[in-house]
Symmetry: C2
Subunit: 288 residues, 2 copies
């Protein structure tokens, strides 16, 4: 049996009892290590689970999946994923390979950023399409995320923005020389993402486009969700651009229409004056 086990968010104790049983029962345990990270490292997980973990980077999962699936028809293999196995990143490819090889699989679910983000007080019901915001470079500054946020906002929906993670990046120099030397991991912060958004807002305004959001749009920055030191900060887009939320992972939410109960919840984590620019859209909702 191939077990796809969600580890949840936070630390080692966020695994479910059912997930832990599957890990302890398995003859090989892989830890997917390229789409997300926990606040604790591999060693802490190994100690808690009582099992040795094999780090599975993108190359292993995408190019050497057969190694992961080897003998999984006669023995138990666990594939651990931060969050849920079908959360922000899906592992459909591994599932399809297993099915094609006649290997039964079982998913053991857990929280992922896609649902746990509800703890900031915004209703999950009212989220539209999820977007990814990538690191801009000198020459590559994609803005497609902005148009999706605009579209969600126009429909009154909130937008969860997942922020870029660079886990095993090669410098162009090392890539050209064929050297498998990797740069230290990088994680887009809420402040960087807010800054990129502000730049798009500014550029579009100069082009005369009707602004879908402004410097005063209410956003929520989320850091290390589910961990002991998680931080949630409700602020205007401008305020978030100069907010330091500390260590990764970060996520950003751009609000749409807000119901009064959502506003009450946001007040619990709001910066001074963050909610000053809200105005009523009808008798029951606010927007910024």
């Amino acid at each position: 049996m191939l077990y796809l086990v969600g580890l949840g968010l936070g630390d080692a104790a966020d695994i479910t009892v059912k997930g832990l049983e599957a890990v302890r029962r398995s003859s090989r345990v892989y830890l997917e290590a390229y789409t997300s990270v926990l606040t604790v490292g591999k060693e802490a997980l190994e100690e808690f689970y009582g099992r040795e973990l094999v780090l599975a980077d993108r190359d292993l999962v995408e190019q050497e999946a057969d190694e992961i699936l080897k003998d999984a028809d006669v023995t138990d293999v666990a594939f651990l994923v931060v969050g849920d196995p079908f959360g922000a990143t899906t592992h459909s490819d591994l599932v399809l390979r297993a099915v094609n090889a006649g290997i039964p699989y079982r998913v053991i679910h857990n929280a992922s950023i896609m649902n746990a983000v509800g703890c900031c007080g915004l209703q999950l019901y009212n989220f539209g399409e999820t977007v990814s915001i990538v690191f801009w470079t000198e020459t590559w500054r994609p803005e497609s995320f902005y148009d999706k946020i605009r579209k969600n906002r126009a429909a009154g929906m909130h937008t969860l923005c997942l922020l870029d993670i660079k886990m095993k990046e090669q410098s162009i120099e090392n890539m050209m020389r064929g050297k498998k030397i990797y740069e230290p991991p990088r994680f887009l912060t809420v402040s960087q993402a807010a800054d990129q958004l502000l730049q798009v807002v500014q550029r579009r305004r100069e082009e005369g486009e009707e602004p879908g959001l402004t410097e005063d749009t209410v956003c929520v920055g989320v850091a290390r969700l589910g961990a002991d030191d998680q931080l949630i900060r409700t602020a205007t887009l401008r305020q978030l651009a100069s907010c330091d939320l500390g260590a990764p992972l970060h996520s950003l939410i751009v609000t749409g229409q807000l119901h009064p109960l959502e506003v009450d919840m946001l007040r619990l984590t709001a910066e001074p004056n963050a909610l000053d620019h809200l105005h009523m859209t009808d008798s029951s909702t606010y927007t910024s």
Copy 2:
């Protein structure tokens, strides 16, 4: 400390290790019992957790929240919620009361239908607004869910439809007599929901409205997600209307635009001919 603990989906072993520790540490443990149910009952949970549970119905949570929060500033109290505490139903109200009373709270997340539904193979990224489909009566046949599904589909998005749960319903007769006698719980099934949707499709067509979906639209029925006997069935809306997916809880997904990898995953659970009516919208997506 007030702990809001997600139980996940399925059975008692879907609680996280961290959640189980909080339950065992608490002096009182409430089980929220009106917005969702597990496939196992209160007794099975009590045995697994080693703690007595107090069933918290809507009256207790909404009108007697002070009882739940009593002494939670000096002792630990756990409030257990099927799925995640901020999943389909949020418990913002209880959190706000706790904060106002100076009681610290902590959320222990878990999987909810809002993210676990990704295991059917549809990308969570591509879901639009979530809708609720309620039991129709002779005189009350709301159609607002249909318009939201149309809107999501027009934007290429999938729609998760949460299906009605009637946990402590009074008959009109008993309500008028002031008798607190409740009807047995009722759960809207995938087949009933699909039938209601088909009736709206038919009625709107007769009114000459451009159909947002048809009898051949690809949908996914999900039953008892996360449980040992979970069932996922990909079928046309018409096929689903005569599908028996067994015991509750059920949910229904109406697909939007489908990527090839999503189609590959849907094939794993598809009824014969269910995907026959898909057509390419551009080089990379399909719709029905």
